[in-house]
Structure formats: structure tokens, C-alpha cells
Symmetry: D2
Subunit: 279 residues, 4 copies
């Protein structure tokens, strides 16, 4: 029913909603959802609509819309939902987040998305084979050029996004720059607590009563990227680190899948190191 959306942000000023809604109304487009808010003088807006005329000239529409954008000195993206998006996945030994993404594609909860490849530093193609997804084993131990090989695969498949499904290796700044697409990570702590390795061990030692997971866009500074989604689970006294890991894995897969869904639905805007997330 809904067939397109736009994301828009600009300096907050009167008349924005009026201008955008007039533009859509003139084209006989019915707004399905409109969500907006302003923070620190910046206005953020996302609109989903149904095109009553089944109008399909994407390029022309986008060009027309850019006039509004210019008037407000804003930044806009327009997306048509019929277009398929691609999400390349990196993984390692722990499969829970990978299985969750594949399950959500299978049930239709992540519609119109394809996984063009799975790259792993752990030599097990069981899951990839089962789902007929090209698998590339690229060891990271004693293999100084592994990032070069990963970039070759990314450049071959040109995914819209890369998801790090518990890949567990730190990406170099060079890799991030050369990847050419946003990279989404899942970190197994409630950031900014417990950056880096062994967050469950650190959580245990600090005696926190809730353990969390955080999905964020990757930037060169480790675990510092704009946060997309977070959630937590309560732990009780007596839980060992390994029980925390087991319980936490459910939080991780839920947070990662929700973040991926937000990104694929064009519900995120990165602004000054933070992610604006629409509902």
C-alpha cells in the first residue's frame, strides 16, 4: 500500500511542513505517516505515502522535490519500497545474529532484502549453504591482507549495507573508508559501557544488574559510532559470565535485527554523531 518514503532535515524554520505537504497534495499523493521533530534547532522529517496515481517516475519526482530541499537548504532522500536492497554480512564463530537475520528474511519481516554474500573468519559454510548464499572464508589470523580481500568482495557485490553479525574483529579506518556503504555493528554491551573486548566479563566484574546490547553505525573510533538501537536484560545475582553470555545473545539478536530493519526501512538519519531514528 505504502510505496515510498522521504527523509528530510534542515535548519528549523516555519513553513516546512506546509511546503512539503502542499507538494505532495498537488501530486495527489496521500500521506500515510508523517513523523517529525526538532532538536537543537534542526528539523527532522520522515513521510511515507501512497501514490494515488500509481505514478512511477522516480527520477523526476526526486528532482522536483529537490527544489523544496534547496529552498530550506535541507538534505533529502527519497526511497521507493519496490526496490530491492542488499545487505552483505560478516560473521565469525557465533551464529545467533546471522540466524536471526536469515529467519526474519524468511518470515517476511525484512522484506525486499537480499544477502549477496557472507564473509567469515571461521571456516564453516553450513548456514550459507543451506540458504544458497555465496560464502567466503577469509581467515584473519596470520593473514595480513584479509581486509584487502574483504574489500574486493564488497566492491564486486556493491551491497547497500554491510552488517557485522558478531564478526568480532576491529575494522581499520581504511577498510571503513573503502567499503563504500554504511556498516552496522552489534556490540554486546550497553554502550558507552564496556567498549571493546569481553564486555560480559567486565559487566560481571562491575556487578551491573542489567546487561545490554547496542547496534551502531561503524566509524573508525571503536564502538563510538552513532547508536541505532539498544536493549537490555535483567541479570540476577548468581549468574555466571557464561550464563550472561547465553542470556545476552537473545538481546543481541533482537537489537541487531531491529537496527537492520530500521536502516532498511530508511528510518535513520545520522546527524552529528547521533542517529535520529523514526518509529
Amino acid at each position: 500500500m505504502k510505496n515510498a518514503c522521504l527523509k528530510f532535515h534542515c535548519i528549523d524554520q516555519p513553513g516546512i511542513v506546509s511546503a512539503i505537504s502542499n507538494f505532495l497534495f498537488e501530486r495527489n499523493i496521500n500521506i500515510i505517516t508523517l513523523e517529525q521533530h526538532a532538536e537543537e534547532g534542526v528539523y527532522f522529517n520522515r513521510i511515507e505515502w501512497k501514490d494515488l496515481n500509481n505514478w512511477e517516475d522516480e527520477a523526476a519526482f526526486k528532482k522536483d522535490f529537490e527544489r523544496i530541499c534547496k529552498k530550506f537548504d535541507g538534505h533529502i532522500e527519497v526511497h521507493f519500497f519496490k526496490n530491492i536492497q542488499t545487505l552483505g554480512l560478516f560473521t565469525s564463530r557465533e551464529p545467533h545474529t546471522l540466524l536471526e537475520i536469515l529467519a526474519k528474511i524468511e518470515t517476511g519481516e525484512l522484506p525486499n532484502v537480499k544477502i549477496p554474500f557472507i564473509i567469515s573468519n571461521y571456516d564453516d559454510d553450513t548456514i550459507s549453504k543451506r540458504h544458497n548464499i555465496p560464502f567466503f572464508f577469509i581467515p584473519t589470523k596470520n593473514n595480513p591482507n584479509y581486509e584487502k580481500k574483504q574489500i574486493e568482495i564488497i566492491q564486486k557485490f556493491k551491497p547497500n549495507f554491510v552488517g557485522l553479525a558478531r564478526y568480532m574483529k576491529i575494522l581499520s579506518a581504511d577498510f571503513i573508508n573503502q567499503s563504500g556503504c554504511p556498516i552496522i555493528n552489534i556490540h554486546h554491551s550497553f554502550l558507552p559501557s564496556f567498549v571493546g573486548a569481553n564486555p560480559y566479563e567486565l559487566a560481571y566484574q562491575r556487578g551491573v544488574k542489567l546487561i545490554g546490547a547496542t547496534s551502531h553505525f561503524v566509524i573508525p573510533a571503536l564502538d563510538q559510532g552513532p547508536i541505532i538501537e539498544q536493549d537490555i536484560t535483567r541479570v540476577r545475582s548468581g549468574y555466571s559470565v557464561s550464563k550472561m553470555k547465553q542470556i545476552g545473545s537473545d538481546t543481541e539478536k533482537r537489537v541487531f535485527a531491529n537496527a537492520i530493519k530500521k536502516v532498511l526501512e530508511h528510518k535513520t538519519i545520522i546527524y552529528k554523531g547521533r542517529t535520529i531514528v523514526f518509529e
Copy 2:
């Protein structure tokens, strides 16, 4: 900063957002928040704004707005936040929800609200006295005319709303009709489960793993009114009914205070037996 809001609903049709936002823009009014959604062919909208001209003629503004309303055959309410609202409270033996409302008025979380009276069927004015609120003890046992006396007090003070802070008596249809204002109740179960008396006992016997509370507008059918807010707490095996009551009381007071806040902030629309609640 924000000084007014409107709530609007009508049959869903193209052009609504455009018409409303143009109206506000023409008056140099800056929209702070705009929230809208459509359900089953009906469009619901709530807007908060800042009036840049410090324009204050409420009546004229409302009259002008009604033209838009008529065009779409819609229903509108406009509220100016500077106006103080009154909330009459009914209570009984358990003070936790009453104390929560008074605490939130004291901290400023429920701004611009006054409690004109507290009516109780339990003869204890400790809390009322402490807060200088007129207290009326109206026994309900062996007192066939108690509703008549309650209505007299309501008609004297003419509150904007009545809140039943664990009052625990069923209101007659006559009472509800004569009260002349919306009545908000807190029920100590996750409705529609466990309507009526002793919900914690029923929850225990059914062996549910979560206990809840529900705040709703009162209609003659017991615990069937439009739901405003709900929440739950996890219970564990071994919890007795009295432990459930104690834990549940925290959920009750949170749910009741949140519902009262939504109502006082004009964030609710009753539509076909349901409450549309804005964020």
C-alpha cells in the same frame, strides 16, 4: 516555550496536513511537534506550537480553525497551556495512587493542575490536610444516597476531570452521566483480564507470569471503558497474593499517573470505544 496544542480527527482524505500547516504558517506559528496517524479510514492529528507573535486571542483562533474543521467534517479541540486544569480525586483506604499524583504535582511533573477536592469512603484526612485540599468523607456503607452527595460536590467544584485513585466502588450509570466530566480509573489488572473484584487473587489462581494495571475512562459497563495506559510487572513462582499486591501497587501508581498526565496534556482522543494516545 510551547503554548498551545490542537487535537483533530476526521475521515482520512488527502490535503489535511497541507491545510492545517498552511493555516498555522499564515499566522506565523511555528509547529513544535506534529503527530498523526490514520486508522481504519480515520485521520488523527495532534499539533503543539509556539506562537511567535505571542498572539493570545484564544476564542478568535479557535473560531478561525473551525473553518478548516468544517471543510473536512472533522472534530477539533484547541488548548492553551497557560490555563489551569482541575482534577477532583476519589479515594479509599489505599493511598499509593493518591500520593503519586500529589508527588508529581509537587515536583512539577504534572504542571498547571489543581486538586479541588478529595472524596473518600474511608475516614482519614491525614493526606488531604497535609496538602490543604478540601476533604469530604462520604461513607458508602449503609448510606444509600452517597452518590447524590458526591455529585453535589462535583457540581460545586466543576472539575475538568475526576480521577478514581483506587476508589474501589462501582459507579452507577446515573453518576457517570451526571458527573459532567471525563472520569479516569485505575484497575489493578491487565484488562480485559480479571475484570471486577480481587484481580490479584484471580491472577494468582490462573498462574499468570505477569501482573498488570490499566487506566481507562469510565463508562457504565464495568472495566470496559477506553484504555489510556497499561503496564505490567513480572512475578515469579512462589509469590503470594499479598506479595503480588505489594509489587503491583508500584505498577498501578505509575500507570495511573501516566494516564492522568496524558489526559491533562490533551494527548487522548476517545474514538469508538478506544483511546487514541499521542506520545
Copy 3:
């Protein structure tokens, strides 16, 4: 490390903990976890232990323990974790709960369990084939004897448990009696609200603010069986029934998998229509 557990319940009386712990201490067995509580005059206890002597005569151990049991007129079960358990699954069109169980077996979160068969009334063996699980398509439409065929399969494989992974057909009392093992269902509402068909539609119409899922043991009375696990998710105004279904599916799969895990870990005791669940 832990290699066995026992579940015990009897009329509450002094000396139970003392008798059980002495019994284990005399056999040089180290208690790892001990959880107990009393409700309405009944004492429930579950103990996990490590056998320091790597003592393995299960039958003798159980027989010895029964003496204590008799003394207190109690009911006991002893389980050794090395024994593999089997869980037969019934499913239909919606695969999310099935995929979750298979994922948790694959990640090791449900250890030592095998799926001997999948029975479906929807003719799609994609998932079964992928996991090498025997698949039986038994249509339920225009097929009066379908329960007879299902029982034949159950009697052939003799699973320890049957899980209804969104199977969506009501089981007859005969079927339940003949199945010979506990049956665990997932119902897509917060029971006792919205028993039977179309719970999300009913939840939408009632205007609840939280939607839930409930996993319970199956008894002949529809959705009335002892509840094992429940959870909820918040819904916002504007969510359609189909959005509720999508969001709810995550709650369903989490609740079902957690309930299955509790059952497989011998952490449930059915008592007077309720399930005692250990942590």
C-alpha cells in the same frame, strides 16, 4: 559440570531441606543450585548438583531418593542431563516459532535435544529438509482422520514432549489423552485475555496498549492450560492489526523458546492448574 537435577514437592513441613541436603551430602554430592518455595501449604524444591564421584547408577540413586520422598509423602523426579530429550513439533503456515527453536538448537542454547519429526497442515517442507528432520504433511481440511495419523506418528517416535509451533488447530481431548506426553502451545495473546481465534484483532478492538504471548501446557479446555511463560510488547496508537501481528511475532517466538527451555531443563512442575517455574 552440573550433571543432574531433582524436582520435589510435598505438603510443607519442617525438616525437608535438612533431609534432602543430608542425603546428598552423605553421597559426597555438591549442590550447585537449590531453589525452593512454599505456596498455600505446599513445598516445591529443585536442586542441581555435581556428582563428585562421577557416580552414575541412575536407577539406584532414584530408588534411594524415593525413601525420602515416601517419608514426606512427596512427589519426585530425578533427571540426568547427559540424556538426550526429544521434542516433536507441529506447525502450520507461520514459521517464526519453528525457526527460533531450530536456531536455538543450532547455537547450543537448547542443548541435548533432538527434533524427531515436524508435522504440518501446510505443505511446505523447505525448513524440515534444510535441517534433515522427517516431515509429515497431514492436511486438516476435508480430512476427518487427521488426528489419528498424527497420533500414529507420535506413537512411532515417542517424543518426550510435543511443541505446537503456531500449529493453530484445536486439539481434541482424545488426542491430548492419546499423545502420551506433555504438549506445549504458544498462544498469541496475554492469557486469559483473548482466548481462541484472532487475538490480535481482539486486542486492536479493545484498544489495549500492550500485546502479549503465552506459552502453556495443553489441556482439553481451550487456552486454559497451566501457563509456563508470558511476555508483552508495547503498541502505540496508529498500529494496525497487521503491524501488531508482525511485532507480536517476536514476542511469540521468545516466549515459546523460553517455555520450551524451561520444560527441557526440568524447571516446571504442574500443580493444581498452575505451573511452578524455577529460575
Copy 4:
């Protein structure tokens, strides 16, 4: 019904449960709840019981129990619930956590506790007066000796515990040493994130999706003390820092009151910088 409890911890070893339960059984004492767990080789246990003989010689009981303690080289505390405990409170400008504690005393959720004094660095005795609690205004600005005066009051009233109800000043190591009782703080972040001043501002800038509160025992290192209780609330894009503060205040008061309750019910053991919390 329950009239006493004990907390016990020692190096984990076989025979502990057996020894303790035999001791209680010999005295005709009925265990109501028994909770235990072992972590990293240490065994923690808490037992609540009903004394069937209405036996009341506390000192003799404790002395007898110490024999068991010695045998296992353990540490024990025994508490009789009839004894009233005292909780001195420090506060400042924000009253929400203070009001919550007073409300819970009034409703009986915090039974058998008295507030001997309220110390504030903000000159407003409205609440203290209302509840007839001695109030001491001790300014902290331009008043180098304020900690000395606070200690004098503590030494006069000798409370069992001190609670910092959003007192917002850092305590010196000297103060902590001289106070002579455990001090419980509420910090308005999900520790270890956002230690120190302005945690909501820091949370906003980092773009976290959940904001939290943490109650902990105070040690000289700022916000590093053993955590007793934590909880979080979800925030959405568009929430300003001041909205976060308002929403967060509900989490703060709930977390602080729950932590105070755990401490007063003798459900906490500090061990190696962490708090073991019993249910």
C-alpha cells in the same frame, strides 16, 4: 509470620546446606525461604524463617549459629524483623526520590523504618515539616565545614543507614569513613556509563536509546561503589535533555526505593566490590 533471617557466606564446600538446615530443624524452626548461589568458589545464602516456639533470645541464637559459621570459616548476620531500623536522608533541590521513600513508608511498603533526620543543602523544610521529621539545613556553598556538621548529626542520631536522595554533592573519603554506617546513593545514569555530573546531557550527546538510574553503596571512588539496583527507560529521537530528565526521574525514584528496600530487608551482601542481591 516470618520473624527472622540470616545472611551467610563462606568458601563453597559440600555440607553447608545440610549443616544450616539441621541447625534450624533441631530448633523446630520452619524455613520459609531459602536462597543460595555460588559464584567463583564462594557460597552465598539467605534464609527467612518462622520460629515455631516463638523463641526470642536473639543473642543466644546468634551465638549458637556462630559455631556453624566457624566450622565453615564463614561470615554471618542474623536479623529479627521486629527491630526498627533508621534511615537518615540527605537531599537537595529535587524532591522526587525523597517523596517516594516517604510515600512507601506511609503505605507500609517499607515497614519498620524511621527517618530520624533530613539534611539538605537547599533551604526548604516543607516536606520535612509535613512529616514531622527533624530538618537540618546545612549549606554547602561558602561553608568549608559542612561535612563536619553533617557528621555531628549522624553521630547524634546513629542511623543504621544513610540514603542520598539526590543530594548531588560528592562525599569526601573522610566523611564516608566517619559516617559509621552504609551510605546508599542514587545516580541518574546506567553506570558505569556517565559517571559524575550531568549524565542526562552526556546521554543525549552520545545518542543512547535507553536512559537509566543506578543505586549503589558509596565508596570514596566516585560512582564506583557496589551496585544494588538499576533500571532503564526507553527514550525516543526528539526527546530533549529536559524531557529525559523528567522521564528519568521516575526511573530514579523506583530504583532508589527498591535499593533501599533490599538493604532494609537484609537482602544485600557486599563482596569484592559487587553487591550480591537476594530476591
